[in-house]
């Protein structure tokens, strides 16, 4: 058992002329995610010449590199070195993010509830009653990708993706939830919206959270919207 933990099972794929995709294959989802995040953190801090960017997600790490300064071989060697060094995740912080569920804020709440064979109120209780984990921060601009609570069924995507999400929209798809911080296209079912601006470039860092942090959603009424409608660093989350 100990041995299996020491040797992180993974595959490295060439991913274009200047990229590598690492795929963690441990049977345990939590393990795969931890390994991917730990490797991502280590690669970002790595002094290895030529690393351009690192995207670490549920069980993968995508490394892009400058092909004039590095090669698949040199980056893969660095990856093997860092996997052996077992870097740790930072301690988790808990955020409480206010959400106005349903109505105009969450036009797909009723549909998602019916897919789950729940009432809208029961779905809100399920969604806001337990803690979620931020698995990674991705696009559009600082979107938190979360999972955790047991959603009864895998939620299908919108049949026609929206061309322009309203910023703050809370999406649900599969067993994951996401907040769209920007008016990007998107295909997730929208069940609510946060009045808090979670991405603010005038602040460093521009998002308050990082992978591994925990989130619980706080249902709020329409009346409370305005008091929360501020950048994240001006409210207490």
């Amino acid at each position: 058992m100990q041995l299996a933990n020491l040797l992180a099972e993974h595959l490295c794929h060439e991913y274009g002329d200047s990229g590598i995709l690492v795929d963690f294959t441990n049977a345990d989802y939590e393990q795969r995610w931890q390994q991917a995040q730990a490797l991502g953190t280590a690669l970002r801090a790595s002094a290895e010449l030529g690393i351009v960017d690192v995207v670490s997600t549920y069980q993968n790490v995508f490394v892009s590199f400058n092909p004039l300064r590095a090669s698949h071989k040199s980056i893969m060697a660095e990856i093997e070195l860092l996997i052996k060094s077992k870097p740790a995740l930072r301690p988790a912080t808990l955020f409480k993010i206010p959400i106005a569920y349903g109505h105009d804020y969450g036009p797909n709440l009723e549909f998602v509830a019916s897919v789950c064979e729940l009432t809208p109120t029961q779905l809100i209780e399920l969604h806001s009653g337990q803690e979620w984990t931020i698995r990674f921060v991705g696009s559009p601009v600082g979107a938190p990708f979360l999972d955790g609570p047991k959603i009864p069924v895998s939620i299908p995507r919108l049949t026609t993706p929206l061309a322009r999400m309203i910023p703050g929209s809370l999406g649900l798809s599969g067993f994951q939830t996401i907040i769209y911080n920007a008016p990007s296209p998107g295909g997730w079912q929208i069940i609510g919206r946060t009045p808090v601006q979670l991405f603010d470039l005038t602040h460093n860092p521009p998002v308050p959270y990082a992978p591994g942090d925990r989130v619980s959603f706080l249902p709020i009424s329409e009346r409370e919207w305005d008091s929360w409608n501020k950048p994240f660093h001006e409210v207490r989350l």
Partner: protein, 345 residues
């Protein structure tokens, strides 16, 4: 020391007035290294043409320049400028006199530059020696629709350029440059080189399935190129959890359509990636207009890398030749300190 003094003396702010503009933006090579906060790369669609334009005027290859997309641009200049036009346009006019693109040119104060909409291809670049004054976010002037950021040029826009170029540098013999760098073609049938992607096994026909002819659909944009044509059959296999996707990723949707991710792509996706375009194929793809016929040729990694090394060698050689030509004329101050930084590659 003397050079520092002379640089200080000659630095000036030139201005250009936009008279007519289609879809024209201030651009550079985009933002990289920001995946941790979910920022897409964006930047010039045809990166090698953008770099080439800057190299031809002595700038750093990642400096700000003007990108003209599938349309035209007319500007009046109020100072003497050193410019280069690259990319899709085959020729352009200075005061109604036609000039070849892909060369370094002097434009005199009071002249009007007319860059026509291209016949083939869709992205033309105008680089000007010096620094275009434009706001930046996270180190780039490049537009990002998710950040609601970017500077678009319209009729009436005035753009300032901090430059060391001026009339005193011209002397009696009007400078003519002939760098003869080959101008790329943008035919309406293209073959894009790619290397195999991690999910190629999910294609029933394997990589060979990509050798079919596809057509660029009008829904294509800087986020992705959509291709129609033969429906590709996928092997039934498990769900792919969202993961980082490279620019140039060739994705197959559940309905068998092909999407090629371009520079404005979201950082993560969960479709099978069956191939990844080479860097120069990504540039080619960004030039392809709707209706262009496309085949994707999967080659070995060493072929892709050799091609990349050759292209970089040519650009590097050119920047040395530009530096030599400028130095011969006593124009050292026009050269960016690091004119071959390749910082965004």
């Amino acid at each position: 020391m003397e050079q520092t003094i002379s640089r200080g003396k000659t630095l000036s702010i030139a201005k250009i007035q936009v008279q007519r503009a289609g879809y024209v933006i201030v651009q550079d090579l985009g933002r990289t290294g920001l995946a941790a906060i979910g920022i897409s790369a964006n930047g010039a669609g045809d990166q090698s043409s953008a770099r080439l334009a800057n190299i031809l005027v002595g700038n750093g290859d990642g400096d700000a320049l003007i990108e003209i997309i599938a349309s035209e641009l007319v500007v009046k200049v109020d100072s003497d400028l050193l410019i280069a036009v690259t990319g899709a346009a085959k020729s352009f006019e200075i005061d109604s006199v036609s000039h070849a693109t892909h060369e370094t040119l002097v434009v005199l104060s009071g002249s009007t530059i007319f860059i026509p909409a291209p016949v083939n291809g869709q992205r033309t670049y105008l680089a000007i020696n010096g620094q275009i004054q434009a706001p930046t976010i996270l180190g780039s002037v490049g537009p990002d629709s998710f950040l609601d950021f970017g500077q678009r040029l319209i009729g009436g826009t005035e753009l300032s350029i901090e430059t060391h170029f001026n009339a005193e540098l011209l002397g009696s013999d009007f400078p003519m440059f002939r760098f003869n760098f080959p101008a790329p073609n943008h035919p309406n049938e293209i073959r894009l080189l790619a290397t195999v992607g991690p999910d190629v096994d999910r294609l029933k026909a394997g990589a060979a399935g990509l050798e079919e002819q596809f057509t660029v659909l009008p829904q294509s944009d800087h986020v992705g190129m959509r291709l129609s044509g033969v429906d590709l059959e996928l092997v039934v296999a498990g769900e792919i959890l969202s993961r980082g996707v490279p620019i140039g990723a060739v994705e197959v949707t559940p309905s068998g359509e092909l999407i090629i991710l371009l520079r404005g792509r979201l950082l993560t996706a969960g479709y099978p990636v069956v191939a990844v375009l080479t860097r120069s194929a990504i540039d080619q793809a960004s030039q392809a207009t709707p209706g262009t016929k496309v085949t994707i040729a999967v080659v070995d990694m060493d072929v892709a890398q050799r091609e990349l090394a050759e292209k970089e060698h040519l650009l590097g050689q050119l920047s040395v030749r530009v530096a030599q030509a400028f130095s011969t004329r006593g124009w050292q101050q026009l050269l960016a300190v690091d004119h071959s930084s390749f910082r965004n590659l």
